[in-house]
Each structure stands twice: as C-alpha cells, then as structure tokens.
Assembly symmetry: C2
Homo-oligomer: 201 residues x 2
C-alpha cells in the first residue's frame, strides 16, 4: 500500500489485529475515520479504552464483567445448582440468546491442548471440583465444542468430577434444526445416527 | 444480542460505524479485544486518537496529511504542471500504487450531487481555476469515477477551466487489462467500442 502519513500507517497496522481485517479493509476503515467519521473514530477510541479498563473476568465463573462477580452469577433468578461449562464468552452469548438455560456458567477461555501447552490450570479447571462441591451443583452441562480438543476437555472435566454427587451431561449434537440432510456433513450424520433416541411409546 | 456489560455494549455499538462491520462481527471484535488482545486494543485506541489529532487535509490539494502541505505537494520530484483530480483519498492511493503518475493531485472528497446538496464549493472547485492559473498547470487529468455523478463532475470541471491555457484530459475507460470480454458488462463494452483507437500505421 502507498503510505499517506506515518500516523495513518500506524493506524492501518493497528487495525489489522481485528478478526477478518486485512490491509485493504484496514485502509478503508482508516480513511473513513479520518474523513467523514472523525466523531465516530473518537468515540470508538474512548469506548475501547473504557471497556479495557472496566471489564475483567468474573471472579466466580470467568465470564466478562464490570463488577467483581458477573450479572449471571449474582442474579437470584439463575439456578446455582445447574452449571454449564463453555469454551468462550461468545458461547455464553450464544446459549443466552437461545433462552433455554436458566443456570450459571463456567468459562474456560480455551480448551485443553497439550501441543499448545494449554493444561487444566490454564482453563481454571482446578477451581471447578471445589466450586461444584461447595455449591452442591446437581448437574454439570458440558457445552465445549464438538472438536477433538473440545471432546477431550469434556472428557477430562467429566473424569475430574467423578465421585461427586453431581450429574454430568453433554449437550446434544446432531443434524441442526432447519438443516437438510443433503447438506449436512458425513461426520454430523454419523453422530446423529449413533446418538439416535427412541420416539413414541 | 445478549448484553454482557454496559461498556462492552457501547464498544460493540461504536465499532459498527466501520465499513462492513455489523452486530455479529462487532461482538467478535469486542470479545477479542477484551480477552486475548488487550494490548492490541489499547494500541488501536491510541493510534486512532493520534491519527485523528495529527492528520488533516493538505491546504493545497485537500489530500490527507500531517504537515500543512502534504508530501506529494511539497515533493520537488512531482511535476507541478500536471494535476490529477480525484474524488477521494483512496483514489490517490490507487493511482499512486500504479506508479504511472508523476504529477500532483486535487482531492474533491466527493462528487457533484445536487440531490444531496453537494455543490462545487463543497468540493473545493472554486479553488481550482485560480490554482491552475497561478501554477501554470499544463494538463488537468480528470480521474473522477465513470458514474453519472462522476461524469457530471468531470464535465463541470472541464467547463470551469475553459479559457485557461491548460489541456483537460480524462483517464481512459474500457475493458480492464486481464479482463475477458465474456465477463465484462455491456456498458463497459459499449464504451470501449465507442472509444476505440487506431492501431498500426
């Protein structure tokens, strides 16, 4: 790219850590910020600084929160005996938007991956068995992703909770609702067939 | 979208003035900033503020610049007698990256559009005839886009320079190099045929 000025070049560079933003779209964004949208650009800079300063991990569930304990953990409406374990904050958002879960969460911020040096304590998994015991959790719902690492993480958690008086469940995997068999990949169909459930009486 | 915390919601909102960023990708960007990439986020905020503060329109050609007069206008290597008129800073970048133009620019930051209330003075066009006269410009290259408004703007500029001792030219439009006729739209082909040039002797 042709350079315009050092500070624009630095801005174009800085924008590229964002997901899906390459040199071309970073340049477009930077030019927009410096031409029609200076107020929007200043507001964005302020919002970034504010959020980075205010938002931290909830001390209980590791979800993002401005308070020490997040809104979900401190809400009396959420069942403390039901605990859903997810890989990331976006998974919390996805499950919340389904409206089907009334318990609390525990956010791993990753998955077990020995190759990348990610072990149980990096995911806060050492805090999980005491949390389940103290709170008397009745059901732990494993909602890690259906990838090799996600499954291994689910398996590890399930084993680490053995001997505790809690049920451990895994969310269902299969053909997505509204999906047509024709367009679903073979692995998903194989899983859906192995995991078939009895209907009728 | 499910809300996480007020400052994250404000950040997700603020990100959406960027081109091509909707609620979903804004949320992804915000979560990335607050999880793995806090340093990148802080750097981005700093770069935005710095660029907005330092970068302004060049007082001669209206291109973006940190100095009062931009690098191109102040470079002794650029021919002051050759002036290219473009709609936007991205057009300057596009032409510079072609390496084919050694003159200076004049950036309109838009195009004539009576419906949107954009008149000649909004584009700095009142400054153009005196600039051409003072500098003794030999050739004005009109590089506005080949849209109805871009053509009208080119026509207006051409008329406003009548009576001055300068040649007014328009960049060539036609079938793009490397493009196959089969995939080029009818309007472009019609233009290419009307604008055919003699080859050979």
């Amino acid at each position: 790219m042709t350079r315009i000025s050092p500070s624009v070049d630095r801005l174009v560079d800085a924008l590229q850590f964002l997901p899906g933003v390459g040199p071309k779209s970073a340049t477009r964004m930077a030019l927009l910020m410096l031409q029609g949208e200076r107020a929007g650009a200043e507001r964005l800079a302020k919002c970034i600084q504010e959020a980075v300063e205010l938002v931290h991990a909830c001390s209980v569930c590791r979800n993002l929160s401005e308070a020490e304990v997040c809104e979900i953990c401190s809400s009396p409406k959420r069942d403390p005996k039901l605990l859903c374990i997810v890989e990331s904050v976006s998974d919390v958002i996805a499950i919340e938007s389904s409206g089907q879960f009334s318990g609390r969460y525990f956010v791993l911020h990753g998955r077990l991956s020995p190759i990348d040096g990610v072990g149980p304590s990096d995911l806060g998994l050492d805090r999980l068995p005491p949390l389940v015991a103290e709170r008397g959790v009745k059901e732990v719902v494993l909602a890690t992703n259906p990838t090799i690492e996600g499954e291994a993480t689910a398996q590890f958690i399930s084993e680490s909770l053995e001997g505790q008086a809690t049920a451990v469940t895994r969310i269902a995997h299969g053909v997505p609702i509204g999906g047509e068999l024709e367009y679903v990949d073979g692995g998903t169909i194989a899983h859906a067939i192995r995991g078939r459930v009895r209907v009728g009486s």
